[in-house]
């Protein structure tokens, strides 16, 4: 459903607040179909927020956005879809493992998508976010 809405109604995301409403619907859908998914997303959020200089905001197109200082590490939509930016090199290596996908919108970039379906996926999503976090932390340290 997420991909259908994004494909045919994606233009509506520019209406203020609508993406947040849509993400709320996705969360309620997850609550009905796979309630544990909401717990896994909460656990990921709690784990990431324990890392230094991180905080959570609402993503501009709906979802939970996890940030390192002022830069986005990644965001998780209400249906358990994690989107995040990595370097192209890391992305290529991860794609070879076959667990992650090209980002659902930004193909041929460092953006990746990963669906959380089970507890093991939640652990993998957290590991991906850690990769993104370390990448941003490294960049930040180099800039200093």
């Amino acid at each position: 459903m997420f991909l259908f809405v994004r494909k045919y109604f994606g233009f509506l995301k520019f209406i203020p607040g609508l993406a947040i409403v849509f993400d709320g619907l996705l969360k309620l859908g997850s609550f009905a179909a796979k309630p544990a998914l909401l717990d896994w997303m909460d656990e990921i959020e709690a784990a990431v927020l324990k890392w230094p200089n991180t905080h959570a905001t609402t993503h501009k197109y709906g979802g939970l956005q996890l940030n390192y200082i002022k830069t986005e590490i990644g965001h998780i939509h209400g249906n358990g879809l994690l989107d995040m930016l990595l370097s192209r090199k890391i992305k290529e290596q991860l794609m070879a493992d076959g667990r992650i996908e090209d980002h659902h919108t930004f193909k041929n970039t460092g953006w990746i998508s990963f669906y959380i379906h089970n507890k093991d996926d939640a652990g993998y999503a957290l590991a991906l976010l850690r990769l993104g976090y370390e990448r941003l932390e490294g960049k930040n340290n180099n800039d200093l």
């Binding site: 309630p35 909401l38 909460d42």
Partner: protein, 302 residues
Amino acid sequence: MNKIFNQKLKGFAVANAFAIVLISITAYFKPESALLVFSEFIIIPILIGLIIAYFLRNLPAISTRKLAGYSCYNTIIIIALSAIFLHEGAICLVIVSPLLIVFIFLGMLGGRSMFHRDNEILNVSVFGLLMLVFIVDSLSKHNYTNMVADEVVINAPVSEVWKHVVAYKRIEAPNKYWLFQIGMPSPVESTAEGYYLGAKRKCIFSNGYVFDEKIVTYDVNKNLTFDITHQPRDPEIMGHIDILRGQFLLHDNGDNTTTLTGNSWYKLYVFPTWYYDIWAKSITRNVHLRVMEHIKQLSEEK
């Protein structure tokens, strides 16, 4: 555990009491109006969610799953209160439920995040802004009318179709539309006191309700237009939508077939229209189709 239970109960009680007060104030200042504005379905549920989140703010982090569950519980509470105090019908409540669940849930999520920041200025600003929107919306004029058109092609000449357009015998076919199947009244018969301009017509529904109509255009084999002069005040939908006018247009396709177009004009008393008009169109369309399929069947009978 007891603390969570108590705080949750307090949150539910205060939030719903607050909602009842707001709706009562609106009803007090507009006693004659059947209008239910956007704020009553969007802003009040968000405020309910915020208030519940406020009561849970000092407890260990409440999971998103629990908040989703609470929004479902509170929707059930509102539905029960609406059925008892506002005498709303079951189908109305089915229609309104998705709006309530979603916006209570969003209010709770927003509240959890907002109260976690512990910023009084932010809290008061958000609450004040929502109340301002509620007041402005409640005092604003609301008027929304729309028209729905549907078409069927009938394998019969216009003269044959026309016989069944002005009045038709009872529809015996089972309902296909899910809202009709769960109890929403559907059209079953139409009668007319005569075949002339100004004749009175009646559209009878499955629960016995009658829409009184008057023929205002009588152009044989071409156009039958009728105004609705009286309609029942039913808790199921009918108090929230007025059907203003109906029309059947017949077009001779030149090959012994007829294109029958059904048009209906209606006025909505519930807002936001981006939500309720979807339902209004769907219901009106299915009323059309039920009648027009029946006319098609009668006209094509040998």
